[in-house]
Amino acid sequence: MRWLVFAILAWIFIGLEIGLRDVLAFGEDLAISPSLVLPLAALVALSATPRQTLVACLVLGLLVDLTSSHELADAGGAVTIIGPAALGYMLAGKFVLTMRGLMIRHNPLTLVFLSIVGAMLVNAVIAAMLSIRAIYDPIVWDGGGELLVRLGRSIYTGAPALLVGLISPLLGAMLGLDHPPRHGRRVF
């Protein structure tokens, strides 16, 4: 895999995710918005070696963690928590690695399905870790509301995943992922 191209794509995708969030968002407080980074993680995981996949997912998850802030109650400030998204992305990457042998890799709908389920896993890990943290830390956290919002976000992630799926041959070639992985199982 070409890591420099991956770094540039990660930078562009996270910038687009942050910038376009409000345009694409809907629901109460416009809280339901899709993830653009997760389809990139799923695309990498579909073709890269297991190790490359986990490292790429770790990097993307760390980027998401570092660009998210959590409010502390009673105007107590904000905190950046490293870990929840990183672990979630690695779990999603592992899920794609497990599933990719059963999927039709070049079908854009494959990326849609894997992105939606992957986003659900990421959000489940984030929600679980922040719910535990809310027991002893004064973070502003509405567990029930967040679960619903995050479920909506996960499903909505399928939309950008379809677009990424349509250009996946181009992105795959740029990333050097157009060949079957050496260490993983051969996919279609």
């Binding site: 930078w11 910038g19 950046t80 490293i82 870990g83 535990i132 943290r133 509405d142």
Partner: protein, 300 residues
């Protein structure tokens, strides 16, 4: 190409080590996470060149969600009116404060003098919208004199919120409508001379603020002044910096009767500018906040 045994072992241990580290960091209490704020500052600085242009493009592309405005001339006149009214009300509040200060000084109590304000324009580089709150990240931090509690406005008089964390290059703003922002004291302006009703507003869902207010009695005529939708609400909260007083919090959108308190009304206020939609803000920095002449190492 084969790797050496040592590097292969290290390579194998990298992923489990990263997982353990993420787990540990994920549960470290917030008070020990100062370093992650600095890392986030670097990350925000790196993504700013792409996120801010996209935010601006997004704001331009969504006319349906933009504030409904009048003609440019009317908008300019309204802006001037709001600015002068803010100056007038602030002068009134200042006179009241100085009278109190004179009274205190006469009793031998020394108070801080009023501080001059420097205004600094800053780009919004990231917005976050969760069910639990919404924060803004702006380009501009401790290097340019931003400190926690710095007041943030748009259009000169519309209050957005305040800085809750000032990193080296970026700062995090907590809008007044954010769930974690807590209550603010405000005054609903009922007449042009500044006469109004005090209320305490709390953020509620939908980017609104809500609180109880009593309809005040005019001391001259004895008439009760009703609180009606459309009235301007201004900040009158002593826990906020002096330069934030009388800034516009929003407009009264709804007035409902409080079931258990017959003499009070439930007032719902909508900010004139949705904090989640601004792409540029102005920071009101008090001049006693020194700009570090020799910033710490490690930044660009």
């Amino acid at each position: 190409m084969h790797r050496s045994g040592h590097s292969t072992d290290a390579s194998r241990r990298f992923i489990p080590a990263a997982i353990v580290l993420c787990l540990l960091l994920g549960f470290v209490p917030a008070r020990y996470l100062a370093l992650t704020g600095e890392l986030a500052d670097k990350a925000n600085w790196i993504i700013a060149p792409i996120s801010h242009p996209v935010l601006r493009l997004a704001a331009w592309l969504e006319p349906g969600r933009r504030q409904q405005g009048h003609s440019p001339e009317v908008a300019r006149l309204q802006s001037d009116r709001d600015r002068y009214q803010t100056m007038f009300l602030r002068a009134q509040a200042e006179i009241g404060r100085l009278r109190g200060q004179i009274s205190d000084l006469q009793r031998g109590i020394d108070l801080n003098p009023a501080l001059p304000v420097r205004q600094l324009s800053a780009q919004v580089i990231r917005r976050q919208a969760d069910a639990s709150g919404r924060l803004l990240v702006i380009r501009g931090g401790a290097r340019t004199g931003v400190t926690p509690n710095t007041v943030v406005v748009v259009n000169g008089v519309d209050l957005v919120g305040r800085v809750i964390r000032a990193n080296r290059n970026t700062s995090i703003i907590q809008p007044i409508t954010s769930t974690g922002a807590g209550a603010i004291d405000a005054r609903i302006i009922l007449r042009d001379d500044g006469f109004g009703a005090r209320c305490q507003l709390r953020p509620v869902r939908g980017g609104l603020l809500q609180g109880l207010a009593s309809e005040p009695e005019d001391p001259d005529s004895g008439r009760i002044e009703p609180i009606e939708p459309g009235r301007i609400v201004r900040l009158a909260d002593q826990t906020w910096p002096a330069n934030a007083q009388m800034l516009i919090v929003g407009i009264v959108e709804r007035v409902d009767s409080a079931e258990d308190q017959l003499l009070r009304k439930i007032v719902t206020v909508r900010p004139r500018i949705d904090p989640a939609r601004v792409t540029e803000v102005v920071l009101r920095i008090t001049e006693d906040s020194p700009i570090p002449s020799n910033p710490p190492e490690g930044g660009p």
